[in-house]
């Protein structure tokens, strides 16, 4: 069964159409990487799936349920989807532990003890247990982003959306975050990942989609897309990436 299915998704901001009819399907445990230039619509697509942006047209299914239907409980949908942002977006007035336990306690109504046990287990798994009482601004970017991933995982989502999660990091901190994602992929987490890290996409993606001007222009196995793209636009994009030394 598919974990996520998008049908002809369209999204405009004013006059500008950012998504121009996206069809996409993710199977359970699949890891799909979205690549493409800035402004190609990757972030918007992820925000639409999480219902942070309303669609102009099209439908989105999470499992069997259409989440774009009228009257859907958006909070209930978002509980099932974890999203991690480029800029971490941790809550600066809360400790690491409180960041992670906030939604499990407020939304899932877990007891404090239960939520903290779950949070500490996740923090320990990603080497962050000694940071539990720190405030986010005391952490490195890599640590902050790992906490943000843990915060999303604490809701036990069926699907994770990662929006260029390493783009705001210093180069030496990228690996620690990518390793966390790799571990999630190995654990069978279904993920849709917008990324500029082509090497990483090649390593962990079961499929790579090239997004160009609001359309999925080409998709397939990572080595097909990244080494032998068929579309001239994809070839151009990858040439620029190679010039920049990112592949």
């Amino acid at each position: 069964m598919s974990a996520l299915r998008l049908e002809a998704v369209r999204k405009s901001f004013g006059e500008h159409e950012v998504l121009r009819g996206i069809d996409l399907e993710l199977d359970d445990h699949e890891v799909v990487c979205l690549i493409g230039a800035s402004g190609s619509g990757k972030s918007t697509l992820l925000r639409c799936i999480n219902l942070l942006e309303p669609l102009n047209a099209g439908r989105i299914f999470l499992g069997r349920e259409e989440i774009t239907r009228r009257g859907v409980d958006v909070n209930a949908v978002r509980r099932r989807i974890g999203i991690v942002f480029q800029a971490f977006n941790l809550f600066p007035h809360m400790t690491v532990l409180r960041n992670v336990t906030l939604a499990p306690r407020d939304v899932l109504k877990l007891s404090r003890a239960k939520a903290e046990a779950r949070a500490l287990e996740l923090l320990a798994r990603f080497g962050l247990e000694d940071r539990r009482d720190e405030y986010p601004d005391r952490l490195s970017g890599g640590q902050q982003q790992r906490v943000a991933i843990v915060r999303a995982l604490a809701m036990r989502p069926e699907l994770m959306l990662l929006d260029e999660v390493t783009s705001a990091l210093d180069p030496e901190l990228v690996a620690e975050v990518l390793n966390v994602i790799r571990e999630l992929a190995e654990g069978g987490m279904t993920m849709l990942i917008a990324t500029h890290e082509m090497g990483f996409a090649r390593d962990i993606a079961s499929r790579v989609c090239f997004l160009d001007d609001g359309l999925i222009l080409e998709q397939g196995l990572p080595h097909e897309i990244l080494t032998n793209p068929k579309q001239p636009r994809t070839q151009q994009f990858l040439e620029r990436i190679i010039e920049a030394g990112r592949l």
Binding site: I81, F91, H93, A103, D137
Partner: protein, 292 residues
């Protein structure tokens, strides 16, 4: 890169101060203090001489600065001042809650909430636009005259309502500035975890917003504390009215000075408390720096 530059500049400063010689550097500091003290002393002396040499000084000294007047009226005024403090404390609680409701209404998004937003805007404009003394007079004299059943007729009560209405207008604007200063990505992060709009506001937006506006909020506290004196215009005996009474009995103004001292005794500690809270908050959460 900028951070690296900053780190480099520290040893640079140390090196220079070593070259200049520790003693000489400290000498500059001590000289600075001496200059500040001297210029202050000269300034104060000029003011004192100017005032005491003025033609009207003997009369002013007799009517304002008679120690006997000030000390004899002080107990009465201090007793009346308790009412000012009570009005202030009760009103402040209502202002903080009511203004928050107004500010939240004003920040509701979407066309559905347009009427509520409009109402909040009109309210803020009116509350800040009409002079406080007029609001107090209108409510204090008008509302009891309606003789509505089940509604208090006390002038103090209605004056308090007036102060709450006026100050909520200001404080709502302060809250709103705070709410708008929290980056939208914070709300996105909260909502993406499944928090409702209300929960996101309560747990994520407002705690950050309020923390940022504590100094201007305390400023409005100070303003409210001072404006409790306006209740005296309704004939209620609070500190200002009591000092008017005392002043009328002695034909001197020392009683006003006594009242002023009482107000300052509350507002200055409030101002220092504000500074202390800001400093403590900064120390607690910005120890590593970088968080705006």
């Amino acid at each position: 890169m900028a951070g690296e530059g900053d780190r480099r500049s520290d040893p640079e400063v140390e090196r220079r101060s070593r070259l200049l010689g520790g003693l000489h550097f400290e000498g500059e500091g001590a000289r600075g203090v001496a200059i500040a003290l001297l210029s202050t002393a000269v300034f104060v002396a000029v003011v004192i001489v100017a005032v005491t040499q003025s033609a009207g000084w003997p009369e002013v000294k007799r009517t304002f600065f008679d120690w006997g007047d000030i000390s004899s009226s002080f107990p009465d005024i201090a007793r009346a001042f308790v009412l000012n403090v009570k009005i202030f404390l009760v009103c402040e609680v209502f202002v903080l809650v009511f203004a928050l409701v107004i500010a939240v209404l004003r920040s509701l998004p979407g066309p559905v909430f347009f009427p509520l937003r409009a109402l909040a805007v009109i309210y803020s404009d009116l509350a800040r636009g009409v002079p406080t003394i007029l609001v107090i007079a209108l409510l204090g004299f008008g509302a009891p005259a309606l003789q509505l059943t089940g509604v208090p007729r006390s002038r103090v009560f209605w004056a308090g309502v007036g102060l709450i209405l006026v100050y909520s207008g200001y404080v709502a604007e302060v809250y709103r500035a705070g709410i708008e200063s929290v980056h939208p990505s914070q709300e996105a992060a909260a909502r993406s975890l499944g928090l409702s709009r209300f929960e996101a506001l309560r747990r994520v937006i407002l705690p950050q917003a309020i923390r940022r506006v504590i100094p201007p909020l305390l400023n409005d506290f100070i303003g409210l504390q001072k404006d409790t004196a306006l209740v005296g215009t309704l004939g209620v005996v609070e500190a200002f009215n009591q000092s008017q009474i005392d002043s009328a009995a002695t034909f001197t103004y020392g009683a006003y000075l006594a009242a002023a001292v009482l107000f300052v005794a509350i507002t200055i500690p409030l101002a220092r408390l504000t500074d202390w809270l800001i400093a403590r908050d900064r120390q607690k959460r910005q120890a590593a720096g970088g968080f705006a």
